[in-house]
């Protein structure tokens, strides 16, 4: 995925823990962990809105586009995704 979420960096700057942020944003710790480790395939605007509100930042500070290193990176997909050969 070329879109990277810099949640860990912003959390470090704001000195807020994962548990605290999850509680304030209103999502589970597991889901926040999915976001933090860049495993998420999509993010809802409501979630992004809550994150920016609690972290007092802009979406651009959280989201970053990283160009693919090589063509192999573009085909990496989770189980059941279109890229997978089932």
């Amino acid at each position: 995925m070329a879109i990277k979420l810099n949640l860990d960096r912003v959390m470090l700057e704001r000195r807020i823990s994962l548990t605290e942020l999850a509680e304030k944003v209103g999502i589970t710790l597991a889901n926040l962990s999915v976001l933090k480790t860049n495993k998420a395939r999509a993010i809802r605007f409501t979630t992004l809105d809550a994150l920016c509100r609690e972290l007092q930042c802009q979406p651009g500070e959280l989201l970053e586009f990283v160009a693919a290193q090589d063509s192999g990176d573009e085909n990496h997909g989770d189980d059941g995704s279109k890229e997978d050969d089932l």
Binding site: L35, D78, G80, L86
Partner: protein
């Protein structure tokens, strides 16, 4: 209505569990019968038993002749009679060719019920769209396709063996005129009473497996949407 739809997968799982057990018992019974290789005891007699054939009175008789028995069916007020000499041999043919076909059916049904049991177990757990479910549904579809072909040949083989024996030992009498069944020539042509519906059911299930696969993709996408 909601509680009923929640109970349904559990109910189906239990039904299929019972069916699997019954199929296992049936398979063991058939295997025992194949090992014992039962035959018609010498001197067996039966009837004449009055029966209703095509709405007309008829009779069924089994009478001992020599070391075997003759089997006779009379129908339409005795105007049509089918007589099979050495009925014990006919029973042997049916047993030796029919029991393996029956065993194949029972094993297939047992495997099918087991796959369906696992499928409904997953559905009961809320894991309807998983890779395992997709594979299960695909396997059910492929099994149905394979079984429709194999059972057609099996049933045709049984019919060929039974007809082959009947052709040399059976006599059809119509209005006093004796007719003999023509010998069967050539290879047995696959024919099955239930082959086509099973084949098309297999195709339908394979199509459904594609639906499940797409459902899995959507679910994965949804699960990783925060």
């Amino acid at each position: 209505m909601e509680s009923f739809s929640r109970i349904l997968p559990k109910l189906f799982r239990w039904v299929f569990t019972v069916m699997v057990v019954l199929m296992v018992i049936g398979a063991v019974g058939i295997l025992i019968a194949m090992i014992i290789d039962p035959g018609l005891p010498v001197g067996t007699h039966f009837g004449p038993q009055q029966v209703d054939i095509l709405g007309q009175p008829g009779t069924i008789t089994l009478r001992p002749v020599g070391g075997d028995s003759n089997f006779t069916i009379s129908a339409l007020r005795n105007t049509v009679t089918i007589s099979i000499e050495k009925a014990g041999g006919f029973i042997q043919v049916l047993v030796r060719n029919g029991l393996p076909v029956a065993l194949m059916h029972v094993i297939f049904l047992g495997a099918l019920f087991e796959l369906l049991r696992r499928l409904f177990r997953n559905v009961e757990r809320g894991d309807s769209f998983t890779r395992q479910t997709v594979l299960l549904v695909q396997f059910v579809g492929l099994s149905l396709l394979a079984f429709s072909v194999v059972s057609a040949f099996g049933e045709s083989w049984l019919w060929h063996a039974a007809y082959g024996y009947a052709a040399s030992h059976a006599t059809l009498t119509v209005e006093g005129k004796q007719l003999h069944l023509p010998p069967m020539s050539g290879m047995p042509f696959p024919h099955s009473q239930g082959g086509s519906p099973i084949f098309f059911s297999g195709l339908l299930v394979l199509a459904l497996s594609e639906v499940f696969r797409q459902g899995l993709a959507l679910k994965s996408e949804h699960d990783l949407t925060v």
